[in-house]
């Protein structure tokens, strides 16, 4: 197991240096937290790509994997290190220095402790994860690790219930961990699940802290860690929380870009890589990739930035996405069987489903019901919170709706998928909708806390006053810092 953990160091280090290269942030805990969180996802994502290519080309347990990876990630680390890091920072609102007071911070630690304890309990008492972990994700990892023939066995359509067309970030990461450990152990999938859970929460906190201030970051993390379904899906060893991580990271990168961060092309390239890794995690990631491109197109229509910056952003996004997309294309075109949802379409059948108004009613009802069940009732609490705090001040001429628009596009996409599904609709909704909403939950919280006013903004007081007043009950200003 120690070997499996140590084997994560080179890719995570490369991920960290890549994040330093791409995402501008001043040195300090919030920048380190953001980059560490990104490094976990990037490291696991990149190493799953290299392991898959190694397994297909040389064999799953051929010696030399770690040496080849060490060379690759070492070179990448050196390249990103030499390319330097961006020390600038996006212009942040005055609320950046708001600090939650000790009682509220104490509440945050209580939530963090409860979340950590409940996850640890589940990881210990349910080492194999939930049903789909054995039926899909860890089963595919076993196929990869135990050495079935990729052309006939590993992705065989003979066991369609195991969804052999699903992308391989999680199974390849697990199989790679077993190769490094030297044997199969439940510790590896548990470690990967725990890393993605922690990285998603850390990323949401760090991104909100950088974009909207420390108070917003703390409250965003609090809301996520208090969501039972998010923790349940994470400890179940499914791919939904890893996917949620990449949704969140891709959206946050563009939010930073849109808020005037330095090095916009590097951020766009990072966003491209993250979106492609989402597509390498689950099929829903492909929808995310398309939706991201669509939302950026919408932004271009609204802001009319001109062809040059638009082309530069698109080129950087594509360049970042290309390596992972190339591997995904190889997998989808050469190895994976047809997707059941796409294979079940036909002109007449699809049109009939689209024209069936009952399906709209059923899906809308299921969406509403399931959205209410997140938490449960978290949306009601957040709605009340938004009503009380109000909306964040808008900056004229700046696109500040990337995450919200992306969230709407993803929900619309999922709606259409259900509308056209060839499977039994109620059963399909019943077995998947809760997980799909968990995938979007961190992104939804990012959009929410970017849109809602910070406590300091609601008070209408400058954050750097240092005065003692009624706001001190819940907020305290930090020591003034010199930006940039």
């Amino acid at each position: 197991m120690t070997a499996a953990v140590l084997a994560l160091v080179p890719p995570v280090l490369a991920g960290y240096l890549l994040a330093c290269w791409a995402w501008p942030a001043r040195p300090g805990p919030r920048g380190v937290l953001l980059r560490l969180a990104l490094a976990v996802g990037l490291g696991l994502g990149m190493s799953s790509l290299t392991y898959f290519l190694w397994a297909v080309a040389a064999g799953p347990r051929q010696p030399g994997l770690l040496l080849a990876e060490g060379l690759l990630f070492g070179t990448l680390s050196l390249a990103f290190f030499c390319a330097g890091r961006e020390e600038g920072e996006s212009p942040l609102p005055a609320s950046r220095h708001e600090r939650l007071t000790p009682p509220v911070r104490g509440a945050c630690f209580v939530v963090l402790a409860c979340a950590a304890a409940s996850c640890a309990w589940q990881f210990v008492h349910d080492p194999h994860g939930d049903w789909d972990a054995s039926a899909i994700w860890n089963l595919r990892a076993r196929f990869l690790y135990r050495g079935g023939d990729p052309g006939t066995d590993v992705f065989s359509p003979l066991i369609p219930w195991s969804h052999p067309d699903y992308p391989l970030l999680v199974p390849a990461s697990v199989a790679r961990g077993w190769v490094c450990a030297g044997h199969e152990t439940t510790a590896v999938p548990r470690l990967i699940a725990a890393l993605f859970l922690a990285a998603t929460a850390a990323l949401l906190m760090a991104a909100l802290t950088l974009l909207r201030g420390s108070a917003q970051g703390g409250l965003g993390g609090l809301a996520l860690l208090a969501t039972p379904s998010f923790l349940e899906q994470g400890t179940a060893q499914y791919a939904d929380v890893p996917l949620a991580f990449f949704f969140l990271a891709g959206a946050a990168a563009f939010e930073a870009l849109d808020r005037g961060a330095a090095a916009p092309r590097r951020l766009a390239a990072l966003a491209g890589l993250l979106a492609a890794l989402a597509a390498w995690t689950k099929n829903e990631g492909l929808l995310f990739l398309v939706a991201t491109v669509g939302v950026r197109g919408l932004r271009a229509l609204r802001l009319r930035p001109g062809w040059k910056p638009l082309l530069a952003e698109t080129a950087a996004f594509t360049a970042g996405a290309l390596p992972a997309l190339a591997v995904l294309a190889y997998f989808k075109l050469r190895l994976a069987p047809a997707n059941d949802l796409l294979a079940g379409q036909g002109r007449e059948a699809t049109l009939a489903r689209l024209a069936d108004l009952d399906r709209y009613r059923i899906i809308a009802g299921a969406f509403l019901g399931q959205i209410f069940l997140i938490g449960p009732g978290a949306v009601v609490v957040l709605a009340a919170y938004a009503f009380l705090l109000g909306r964040a001040p808008r900056v004229k001429g700046r696109w500040q709706a990337h995450s919200g628009t992306l969230l709407a596009a993803m929900l619309a996409g999922y709606f259409v998928v259900y509308l056209t599904t060839p499977n039994d609709l109620p059963s399909h909704l019943g077995t998947s909708l809760d997980r799909l909403l968990v995938q979007l939950w961190p992104l939804a919280l990012l959009a929410f806390f970017l849109t809602v006013a910070t406590p300091g903004e609601t008070w209408g007081e400058p954050a750097q006053t240092g005065r003692r007043g009624p706001r001190q009950a819940l907020l305290s200003p930090a020591a003034p810092k010199t930006p940039g």
């Binding site: 509220v104 509440a107 945050c108 209580v110 939530v111 409860c114 979340a115 304890a117 409940s118 309990w121 589940q122 008492h125 349910d126 080492p127 194999h128 939930d130 049903w131 054995s134 039926a135 860890n138 089963l139 076993r142 196929f143 135990r146 050495g147 079935g148 023939d149 066995d153 590993v154 065989s156 003979l158 066991i159 219930w161 195991s162 409250l219 609090l222 809301a223 860690l225 208090a226 039972p228 923790l231 938490g375 009732g377 978290a378 609490v381 957040l382 009340a384 919170y385 009503f387 009380l388 705090l389 109000g390 406590p455 609601t458 008070w459 209408g460 009624p470 706001r471 009950a473 819940l474």
Partner: protein, 131 residues
């Protein structure tokens, strides 16, 4: 405005603390999922022990549930999980046939198949075309 913002933060933190504590208590007190973990472990380590040397290392194996698991779908999935990278298909006509039954049950004998191994726990392996 102060009261509204303060109320908002109190609402959010109180709801979050309650939800987190509720989940922790629920997870600890819940009917343990240990049963699922034990079942996976049983299929993984015990139920098919002794078959690994006989079965081909990969390829297609027929699978037939004969009451070996109270949830046949679960039994099939867990068998596939245990015996990967072999492919188990619910098809009794395959040259290799694995029957997941109960030990107290009269053995099912598929047409034209000879018993290769009876593990004594309801699991029986048959083969066609071999004398």
């Amino acid at each position: 405005m102060h009261a509204r913002a303060g109320g908002g933060i109190l609402l959010l933190t109180a709801a979050a603390c309650l939800a987190a504590a509720w989940r922790l208590v629920g997870v600890v007190r819940a009917d343990p999922e240990i049963r699922w973990a034990e079942r996976v472990d049983h299929y993984d380590r015990a139920r098919y022990a002794g078959l690994a040397d006989i079965l081909p290392p990969y390829g297609v194996i027929g699978y037939l549930d004969d009451g070996g698991c109270d949830n046949p779908v679960q039994g099939y999935y867990l068998t596939q999980y245990a015996l990967a990278p072999r492919l188990l298909v619910e098809d009794a006509s395959r040259p290799w046939l694995l029957v997941n039954g109960r030990p107290d049950q009269r053995p099912l004998l598929p047409d034209g198949a000879s018993l290769v191994r009876d593990l004594g726990n309801g699991v029986r392996l048959y083969r066609r075309g071999v004398r």
